[in-house]
Symmetry: C2
Subunit: 388 residues, 2 copies
């Protein structure tokens, strides 16, 4: 186990109908909020009216900032920062999935620190202060509701970059499983893929020695997510399964699975980001495309861990690690297929991906993160070609 | 899964030699500290001098409050409160195991809220304010370093009661595995027993439906604790195992295994507290005495859960739950024996326990917590007699 600091101060308010608790929690954040959300789905569901009523009831003024895209853009983020400054807003209420929450953080950090948002992502600037954020989560997947990270896409440069700061933990996040009943099948699946990827990135690549706490934590959550996804796809209103999925999403990326495991790389996320940035597909869909191939090309190096995963998650039996690991990769691909998440570019409707563009963007990000040795260009190209 | 609020703001600073980071963290707590610790072991180890130097270096004045007992007493707590008031102290630095940390919290809550400490435990008063606490943990076991609970013994009435408040989360806790190398074998074992009990109390008794996240979290941690304990008993300076044990202790009782599982009772803890209060044995030793018997007398009712535990923790095989569960109880008892934690009163050197006194104290506590239906007097008496 390696040294670490774990400090996650977000207050989680979890349970059916907890969305009614927004107002009483929001009143401690400020008096003039930016109310940020995505498409019109929250208007159709009644959640929008519910939020507006609670803010009004508590005397919290607000400026709306709707229309966040599912890969949130720098342009829309800059618009949000402008609204915060022009209206002298003092807090942010974010209602939506990971994209909405990520953009809320980017706006909060850029406005609070008085810097251009993109400079935070390229590392030119750091977040020194931020507006307090309260959230209602509607799509569990990214874990953004209980972490300090965010990802934004620069549509001009086609770059999709992540950043973070301890200032950006939401003050509170409301997790109401009932709000997730209407998530379509495809997005339920993509969300599961994303959660599993958050758990396995460090599991496969960390170098922190003997870490049975974190390994069994990951394995338990992955098994649970697989089981809950199957239940939801059978019955989208399975409250127990929706609740389980919602809390699993937060636990999958709130710092616990990586605390103490030592340095690791986000290999599959780094390979995926250019795909969703260029082709605007769901992040989870991109992850199920690249992950089996990444595992295949890292089988030599990561064999014992992949084999452990195969045994403890998929129940693969066998003494020798290599065949067990290979069977594990096969089982993972089969799981993706069973929940209809694509495992090739073609399955995602991308028939002639610009492999060289993807390689270029990946290597640019890899160099920025200084992980080009673990993710060498030759292998990156091989992986993309393997995914055609 | 049930509704819950999870909000654990304690900052964990984990790693070898992190005890040197006390000063830089303590300086944000206050200017005049109560420095609380237990026996002289921290003086022998050099930790005392290290702490004093760091406080001096940061200009933090302090009043000492040493001599905390391993079942911390109300009397000593009241002394601490007096010191805080007389010296107008504004924060607490606690260096020790769970007992020291628990007493620190009791002092913090009583002094901060200006009430008698015991009234917090009997429920007459609640904690409305508290002095900020920073800790260096030296014995991982109770999880007190990352939770808001505490247990104090009233030596006059022989009552050992628990209480808690969100105000009592330590602001930071330093977990330095090297400090735990000198914990004697017996205490290493008792600590493991306590951690496992924290994990299993809710696992066996909650009524929150389908909770695979929490169940697998518990099972993974219990297996890890069993494995790490064996390594430590072979080699007390096994850094990986000591580190694992230290973090496991925090994760075993920081709210995560109980979040969402619904109401549960601390059955074995309630049965144990009178034993250590009356006979002044280690809490863990008392737990290994009562737990197998409590399981035995609850086999009918909790059979599927005990069987799941037997299968997933001890690898017991079999289709029918009952024999599997029975084998699981046997395996648990064997584990206690293998690490030399007593499984009867006699093994703990208590040859003629006053069963009726223990029953009376347990039922008093059970009624206070309103769990007398799940812990009926007849069963309590049977359990104690079974443990002779």
């Amino acid at each position: 186990m390696q040294s670490f600091i774990f400090h996650n101060p977000t207050k989680i308010i979890f349970g059916n109908n907890t969305s009614s608790q927004l107002g009483e929690n929001a009143k401690y954040l400020g008096k003039k909020a930016l109310f940020i959300y995505g498409r019109d789905s929250i208007k159709k569901s009644g959640l929008y009216d519910n939020v507006v009523k609670q803010l009004n009831d508590k005397g919290i003024a607000f400026v709306e900032h709707g229309g966040v895209k599912s890969n949130p853009t720098l342009e829309h983020t800059r618009d949000g920062v402008k609204k915060v400054k022009e209206n002298n807003l003092d807090c942010i209420i974010a209602v939506g999935g990971g994209s909405v929450l990520d953009e809320a953080k980017a706006i909060s950090g850029a406005a609070g620190s008085n810097v251009d948002a993109w400079d935070i992502f390229t590392g030119k600037e750091t977040v020194k202060a931020a507006l307090p954020i309260g959230t209602i989560l509607t799509i569990p997947a990214t874990g953004s509701e209980m972490n300090a990270g965010m990802v934004i896409t620069n549509t001009e440069t086609k770059e999709k970059l992540g950043a973070g700061s301890p200032h950006l933990f939401p003050k509170f996040s409301i997790l109401d499983p009932i709000l997730t009943y209407t998530i379509p099948e495809t997005y339920t699946s993509f969300s599961s893929v994303d959660m599993v990827s958050h758990l396995t990135e460090s599991y496969f690549t960390h170098n922190g020695g003997w870490t049975p706490i974190q390994a069994s934590y990951v394995e338990g959550l992955v098994k649970t997510i697989i089981e809950a996804t199957a239940r939801i796809l059978k019955n989208p209103e399975d409250n127990e399964a929706r609740a389980t999925m919602m809390w699993a999403g937060s636990l999958a990326w709130n710092g616990l699975n990586t605390a103490g495991v030592g340095p690791f790389i986000m290999a599959c996320h780094t390979l995926e980001h250019p795909i969703s940035a260029v082709y605007d597909i769901a992040h989870g869909a991109g992850l199920s495309i690249v992950t089996p191939s990444w595992l295949k090309f890292n089988l030599q190096d990561k064999c014992p861990r992949i084999a452990r995963f195969a045994r403890n998650v998929f129940g693969v039996e066998g003494k020798d690690d290599k065949p067990v690991a290979e069977e594990g990769i096969k089982k993972l691909r089969e799981w993706y297929k069973s929940i209809k998440s694509p495992t090739t570019f073609a399955e995602a409707g991308i028939n002639n991906p610009d492999v060289e563009l993807l390689v270029r963007l990946t290597m640019k990000a890899a160099r920025m993160k200084n992980i080009q040795e673990e993710l060498p260009e030759t292998m990156v190209r091989q992986i993309y070609k393997d995914c055609l």
